[in-house]
């Protein structure tokens, strides 16, 4: 059974990806538990009591494809900065959509962050409760929501 945050996030991710990135994803177990992705992005919903962090991790292939769709260009015209900028916007829209649906008073959206996940970079995303998603049967990414008390 899906938890509340998973249901909300699933709905928001689908809405944002379909409306602005022209991509449909399937949710569920999509690959090995230690699946490695290439880009991470995160946005915080801030309140005086703490913050809710929405984190995403996606494969480079998926990031390139959605960026090309977002910008209306060919995938071979997409560079690393384009992907990072688009993933920031993706996190921003997912954060805004999540906020709109949970309607917690007094929250405000933080500034989204994006990073490339490499051997030397820290991928701090919690991995024990993730919402995996796939594009055309291939693992595309995962998302999670963590509450961090002040």
């Amino acid at each position: 059974m899906l938890l509340e945050w998973e249901q909300v996030l699933k709905h928001v991710i689908s809405d944002v990806l379909e409306t602005m990135f022209f991509s449909m994803v399937d949710f569920g177990e999509c690959g090995p538990e230690d699946q490695c992705f290439d880009y991470g992005s995160e946005i915080h919903l801030l309140s005086h009591a703490g913050c809710t962090a929405i984190s995403l991790r996606v494969s480079e292939e998926f990031a390139r494809m959605i960026t090309a769709n977002f910008l209306g260009v060919e995938e071979n015209q997409v560079n690393d900065d384009d992907m990072k900028d688009s993933l920031k916007e993706l996190a921003n829209m997912i954060g805004g959509g999540y906020h709109a649906r949970v309607k917690e008073a007094g929250w405000r959206l933080g500034i989204p962050e994006v990073w490339k996940i490499g051997p030397e970079s820290m991928d701090s995303t919690q991995r024990d409760a993730e919402l995996d998603f796939a594009f055309l049967g291939e693992p595309a990414g995962s998302a999670t929501v963590n509450y961090l008390p002040a």
């Binding site: 910008l71 209306g72 805004g96 906020h99």
Partner: protein, 140 residues
Amino acid sequence: MAYNVLIVDDSKSMRKVILKTLQLSGFSLGECLEASNGREALEILEGKWIDLILADVHMPVMDGMGFIVSLRDKDICGDTPVVFVTTEANEERLNQLMKLGASGYIRKPFRPEEIRALLSRIMGETDAFRMGTSVETRDF
């Protein structure tokens, strides 16, 4: 009539997407200028006639709130409509932007027809009602 538009957003990708959306939606677009924050936008507005401003809310240097306050305080561009394109979900903040003089807002993610309908209405085109008005906007 073709309208000069200023797009204010810290994301280059989003500026590109908004421009493309305007072009695809058949909006009568004249010159399109871009700024990455409110301060840059004010500098452009000092020297250029703009018919419509599309601005983000969350931006570094000067955010959408600071931008519209400065715009109205300094009486730059008079009554040039300002439409916010935003992920902001806080109703209180959105109402505040409207009280400060915004002409409307569109929440991201958006569909091209939503932008077209809102802008047609704001710019006074007669086909606005034919396009539908399923966007969140308030009039004063």
